[in-house]
Symmetry: C2
Subunit: 228 residues, 2 copies
């Protein structure tokens, strides 16, 4: 297909596609004349992934290039490619870099070590996700909110369940390169799904616990307050 069709099918403007081509986020098409190139379904699929990374994942262009480089690197095995690609994704709330001597950061690292031991994980501490976790836990501790191994453990267990179900979904895809692309895309694209559902579940669960039943959406069994 020509550039115009690639643009129409992807919903990405031709100017933006040209920019992605220049930045090496999209492999060049097959040149057919001095001014025209031919693109195929692989370009369309890759374009969708680039879109997901940049628009939904807010991934900077340089990082997207690094992630895609890992996806395409045939010298690495599947595990390494997935690890490098997903591991290179920046976390959307990186915050400031933490100082190692900050007592909250030290306490956070100890808590996380305890958590990983409980979960039996072998996390690579260089991943942005591992660093983001330190920042998040240190912030909770600094602000004096509960955050110990016991409060983190349900999150870790549920994250494992999510990863199993995500990778089952990815395994159902056929070609390995496409699997890698899907892994990167689904990592990014399901994050807002997860956060939205958690907030909706909060509202739902608090309604169940605290609703005084004024609104018609009351629970079926309307337990009267003990002090009524």
């Amino acid at each position: 297909m020509r550039l115009a069709e690639l643009s129409e099918r992807s919903g990405v403007s031709t100017a933006t596609i040209k920019y992605y081509l220049r930045e090496g986020l999209l492999p060049p098409g097959e040149r057919v004349t001095a001014t025209q190139s031919e693109y195929n379904e692989d370009h369309l699929r890759r374009l969708r992934l680039v879109r997901a990374l940049i628009q939904v994942g807010r991934v900077p262009v340089a990082t997207a290039r690094e992630v895609l480089g890992a996806v395409d690197d045939n010298a690495l095995d599947m595990d390494e490619r997935l690890g490098v690609a997903v591991g290179s994704l920046p976390h959307q709330a990186p915050g400031r870099p933490e100082e190692a001597e900050d007592p909250h950061v030290r306490a956070a690292r100890e808590t996380i070590d305890g958590l990983l031991a409980e979960l039996g994980w072998h996390a690579r501490p260089s991943y942005p996700a591992a660093e983001s976790l330190v920042t998040a836990v240190a912030t909770l501790r600094r602000l004096d909110y509960p955050c110990d191994v016991a409060s983190l453990l349900p999150y870790g267990r549920l994250a494992t369940e999510l990863a199993v179900s995500d990778l089952d979904m990815i395994s159902a895809i056929e070609a390995p390169v496409t699997q890698l692309e899907a892994a990167v895309a689904l990592t990014v694209l399901y994050e807002p799904v997860l956060l939205s559902l958690r907030r909706m579940a909060h509202a739902e669960e608090s309604r169940r616990r605290y609703s005084t039943g004024g609104e018609g959406g009351a629970p079926a069994k309307q337990a009267g307050p003990a002090n009524g």
Copy 2:
């Protein structure tokens, strides 16, 4: 305590505290002289919450004021206050507003209706979280990645489990206002925890599935590839 001590104990600069006071995010202290006010533990706790919202949650000041207004509104019951406060929190990746006539958006709304029916939830569709979910699902569908009721259901179930464990943690806190503050803070502060752990779990699970065992961190039972 005086402003200087409030600053020292919270780690927030006096200039920033004065800005929060002017913006109504922090109630005024008790005036002791023409130029000095006295602050108490409630100010310190509220300041921590404001910090969590603005620094970690990237909540705009106007929205933070709205969220805190709901926390403090004695005319509402606990469920409503929690619902309004958590419900007012913006989603960090709002994207563009979706057009109702977009077929992907229509399909996303249908998928979400199916999901909510399966989960037995009574979501208030006006919440930013519910709108963010529509955007996230529409994006997945637009990019042609799997996203139907079956793929969303594990996320919804796990979100419910998280909400139950979060609200158990919150119920352990004593005063209702503090519970509400904690609910808002934990909603925001545990989001990066959850996302970091999910990414780490992805790396862990993919290592378990795909590792060819080169790095010492190999799985105990080293299954050889069938085509070896």
